[in-house]
Subunit: 224 residues, 2 copies
Amino acid sequence: IVEVKDAKKEYLLGKTKVHALNGVNLDIHEKDFMCIIGPSGSGKTTLLNLIGCLDSPTTGEVRLFDKYNVSVLNDGDATRLRRDNIGFIFQTFNLIPVLNVFENIEFPLIIQNVAEKERKKRVDVLIDDVGLQEFVKHKPDELSGGQRQRIAVARALITNPKLILADEPTANLDKENGHNIMEIMKRLNAEHGVTFIFSTHDQRVMEEAKRIVVLSDGVVESDK
Amino acid sequence: IVEVKDAKKEYLLGKTKVHALNGVNLDIHEKDFMCIIGPSGSGKTTLLNLIGCLDSPTTGEVRLFDKYNVSVLNDGDATRLRRDNIGFIFQTFNLIPVLNVFENIEFPLIIQNVAEKERKKRVDVLIDDVGLQEFVKHKPDELSGGQRQRIAVARALITNPKLILADEPTANLDKENGHNIMEIMKRLNAEHGVTFIFSTHDQRVMEEAKRIVVLSDGVVESDK
Ligand SMILES: Nc1ncnc2c1ncn2[C@@H]1O[C@H](COP(=O)(O)OP(=O)(O)OP(=O)(O)O)[C@@H](O)[C@H]1O
Ligand SMILES: Nc1ncnc2c1ncn2[C@@H]1O[C@H](COP(=O)(O)OP(=O)(O)OP(=O)(O)O)[C@@H](O)[C@H]1O
Ligand SMILES: [Mg+2]
Ligand SMILES: [Mg+2]
């Protein structure tokens, strides 16, 4: 479902070149439930951004769903591909500050022109799933860190995507909420065949993954 | 060093009242190395903001250093007290986007009118301590999540405060960097008598704490 071929990502900072990714080769199969681990700065977020069509590699290739080459997609095609097939949980949440909990989760369905009654039904189910029933009217800055993270999780799941990229989805969550989120994801993977790629430092997420890829200094160090 | 007496924090959201803290009683002693744990939304950040003079309680009292009552301090006094005595590591980092790594860590020393040579010496030591030597010229948005968190840690330690409040300081860090940060803090506590109050979901931080306070629904549930 995803093929990464010798992907490199370089940034130019003044005169210094920063190699965020230094030749990553990785094949991800449908229904994988895998995580990418590695030290802070090893390139996990950069790699997820390439797979999620949010960025393109400096050199190398990223192919999605056996037909799209991310490096040569134009902006319009990348946005459509992402909107209709991928759910992304950002490490920095990226919520819309002026919308409340309900509206933030509902937003991807408005972009997909889903009817209002159907939207309300689906948003209510997810708000219940992530335990934010009492906070639906709160705006992001009127919530705790972990509550904001759970909005980011719900918003990525609401469109029923084939592929979900979760960048440190439990970093701000306590044990119970973290376990709860993992259970929702395991159920989507087992019952609906959704492919999951996590980036994490959290032992609890690693224990649930069926495959662990270790990234170090921008390259894959191991893959089991 | 800190006394919290029946502190309550209420927010009004439309017509609903949200009780973020619902009567917290807590005494913190000099040289404590303690953590506050509890579910997402239980009031940890709210409590740390009261102790850190960033906010005042709706009712109840917070007393610092046996003489200051946070609830009645004016803004100027609160800022001075905080600047000269407290280091705060924010859950959302709160870095200055237009300054690079070096300048973000140096900033509190500029406010304290420390001479340039002395500033450079102290910032270099901390950049080394948190492992950001190769990234000094990067701006926050040119860094990874865990790298940004480490700037937030270094910036809180640079003024050698008596009291350090760390809100989830290891949430975005891998095992090695997380362990490294805890070692720096333990050394400051053991050798320089600095008082530490952490808020965390991370087992690794809890294991190092000498005292664990459990918060639930805005009140202290246990304290050992
Ligand atoms: N400005 C606000 N307006 C309304 N409610 C708020 C506001 N800020 C916080 N809250 C509520 O107060 C409660 C406590 O929030 P707080 O950030 O202290 O929790 P926390 O224990 O730090 O959680 P986390 O572990 O998720 O960071 C939450 O339920 C939150 O929704
Ligand atoms: N815009 C940029 N300009 C320069 N360097 C960058 C930029 N964005 C990221 N980097 C660098 O690329 C490297 C990889 O960053 P990335 O965010 O992918 O790491 P990560 O594995 O997600 O780390 P963490 O676990 O801390 O979130 C880091 O060393 C970072 O400093
Ligand atoms: Mg990252
Ligand atoms: Mg918090």
